[in-house]
């Protein structure tokens, strides 16, 4: 009897999980389906069955250079992530292992910058970029993405570092390790899962960031977000082409997420399950 109940419960759970997953994934699925339609089909209304044509992809790649924005995206998302990690590792180390009574306030203050609407500082940021010549440069976009994501990177690393017993770092000090060696031989290897998932998540966030990248770049440094936007034209919507461009833009990150999902899940639930 007990077994029957548990089987039914399992079945219900499975159906529910699939349902939720489908709802979450549906927009992406529909984008993919639309990208495989003709413009006529795409404009005709809701339909789940495309004609499986690749003409939109061909048209998109014909109209616009894909590889330049692709490499721009790669450079700014990986570049900004590495710089953010370089700054965040020492910051998180200090706050996790030598906290002061004000540490929580500092962390809150960092997070509070994420609560502010970005549009509120758009004009001053634009003027700063304009005056320093950072507008439409890869360096400028990398800097802004580093700044935008730094609070999250610090918070994530702080959370992972908090899970590492301070005893182990003290043992390393007693064993003759200097600060640098303590970080390289003990802390970082132990934090690899946390650092890896922080890195992955930050690359994804940076890749998808559209507000700043669209406004602070025009051509030279324009990443894939701009590539998509260029197909949303005021002369009329070309839904199939727009979808094809979107699929091309998210494909790399989708693949990255797919292959690293184990690492991502492990990192995001780190410390939650003992």
């Amino acid at each position: 009897m007990a077994r029957a109940v548990s089987t039914r419960r399992k079945l219900t759970m499975t159906v529910l999980v699939w349902l939720v997953a489908l709802i979450v994934f549906f927009p992406i699925l529909y984008t993919i389906i639309t990208s495989l339609k003709t413009e006529g089909e795409a404009a005709a209304g809701f339909s789940m069955i495309p004609s499986f044509t690749f003409e939109s992809y061909a048209a998109v790649l014909d109209q616009q250079d894909y590889f330049r924005p692709f490499f721009n995206s790669v450079i700014i998302s990986i570049g900004s992530t590495l710089v953010a990690l370089l700054i965040a590792v020492p910051a998180a180390w200090a706050m996790a292992f030598t906290p002061t009574p004000r540490t929580r306030d500092v962390l809150m203050w960092m997070l509070s910058t994420k609560m502010m609407p970005a549009a509120g500082v758009l004009v001053p940021m634009y003027l700063i970029f304009l005056n320093t010549g950072l507008l439409d440069t890869l360096l400028g976009l990398s800097i802004i993405l580093t700044l935008v994501n730094l609070p999250i990177v610090v918070w994530m690393l702080y959370t992972y570092f908090k899970e590492i017993p301070v005893d182990i770092l003290e043992a390393a000090r007693m064993d003759g390790a200097t600060l640098g060696k303590e970080l390289v031989y003990v802390l970082l290897p132990m934090a690899v899962p946390g650092i890896a998932s922080t890195l992955l998540l930050n690359v994804i966030l940076a890749w998808n960031e559209a507000f700043w990248t669209l406004r602070l770049s025009t051509d030279d440094a324009a990443p894939l977000t701009a590539f998509i936007a260029s197909f949303s034209s005021p002369q009329g919507q070309f839904l199939a082409k727009l979808s094809a461009a979107s699929v091309l833009a998210i494909l790399p990150i989708l693949l990255l997420g797919w292959f690293s999902q184990k690492q991502l899940v492990r990192g995001l639930t780190f410390g939650a399950v003992k």
Partner: protein, 333 residues
């Protein structure tokens, strides 16, 4: 060589004074145990010696050299932590070799030293395992192995046995004592367990609220405690204390009698009482006796003695083994 000298060491945490003023002289090769109730500052004192905490004032000297401002990496001491603090991502071999790697010791020599340490500690078969695949006792031995390979000036132990079960704790206690006899290196050992202190130490430092209450050999502390705190802390079961008229008879504010120094009788004696709980250990029996007007007292008696709860008994202290204390709790001699 490894003598450790503390001169007027003071430690304050955010306005709260943990160690007011401690001066100690630990001789080379000595096994010294810091013992006291939790929160007495014994671990802090050890961490100050280790260099893991900064002293607020005072000086710490190793072999006469002032190391107060040196970091833990530069003091040449080794420490064994309560949590073992093994590096989880390294094998046993890498764990033990870590201090040698930090000291840039030649690889071949390091390997030899690791092998030697592993043999002494019965870890040879486990060298390629990760710490998580070891039992508590084995992890403890790895932590000790990591400490001994570097031949430090002194070993610091911070409650190393408290995470082990009772039987293993007794074994490890003996192993550490034997290790000290072999190596003849200074060891400073922190524990809250007075049995560990009594059985392992050459000399014991009894700490209370950051102050050194007494520093002496186990038997000195047992036979002539400097004050009521030490008298109550050293010895198992604890010393019984009486105040008021019972103490006034001996010209003291309070008197103390150890459970093993009380004679028990069914007929006559100094204090009358009623047996509460009887704990039969086989070798001994501990009777908890409600003495009229003087509260609960513990008496140690022979293992075969058969006293029952509720029974009326008489207690007589051994007149030569009565400890007398003044109003401030200091021993009267």
């Amino acid at each position: 060589m490894g003598s450790i000298t503390l001169e007027h060491v003071n430690k304050t945490f955010g306005g709260h004074q943990v160690i007011p003023d401690v001066s100690l002289d630990i001789k080379d090769g000595e096994f010294v145990v810091f013992v006291g109730p939790s929160g007495c500052g014994k671990s802090t004192l050890l961490r100050l010696i280790a260099g893991l905490e900064d002293t607020t004032s005072g000086a710490i000297k190793l072999d006469g050299v002032d190391v107060t401002d040196k970091g833990p990496a530069h003091r040449g001491l080794a420490m064994v932590f309560q949590s073992y603090a093994l590096y989880p991502h390294m094998t046993v071999r890498q764990n033990i070799a870590f201090p040698l790697k930090m000291a840039n010791i030649d690889k071949a020599i390091a390997e030899q030293k690791v092998a030697d340490a592993a043999r002494v500690l019965n870890l040879t078969d486990y060298l390629d395992r990760k710490p998580r695949a070891l039992s508590g006792g084995q992890r403890q031995r790895v932590a000790i192995g990591r400490a001994i390979v570097r031949q430090p000036k002194a070993f610091l132990f911070d409650e190393p046995l408290s995470n082990l079960d009772a039987a293993l704790r007794v074994n490890m206690r003996i192993e550490i004592t034997e290790l000290h006899q072999q190596l003849k290196t200074t060891m400073v050992y922190v524990t809250h367990d007075q049995v560990e202190a009594m059985t392992m130490a050459d000399r014991i430092v009894v700490l209370n609220a950051g102050r050194v209450e007494q520093f002496g050999t186990p038997l000195e502390l047992y036979k002539s405690p400097a004050n009521r705190f030490v008298a109550g802390f050293i010895g198992s079961p604890k010393m019984n204390f009486l105040e008021g008229a019972a103490a006034g008879k001996y010209q003291a504010e309070a008197i103390g009698v150890r459970p093993e120094h009380i004679r028990l009788s069914r007929d006559a004696g100094e204090w009358q009482g009623r047996v509460g709980v009887a704990e039969h250990l086989g070798s001994d029996t501990f009777l908890h006796v409600h003495v009229d007007g003087a509260g609960l007292h513990t008496v140690r008696t022979g293992g075969e003695d058969d006293y029952h709860p509720g029974e009326q008994v008489w207690l007589s202290p051994d007149p030569n083994r009565i400890y007398r204390f003044d109003r401030a709790g200091q021993a009267l001699r």
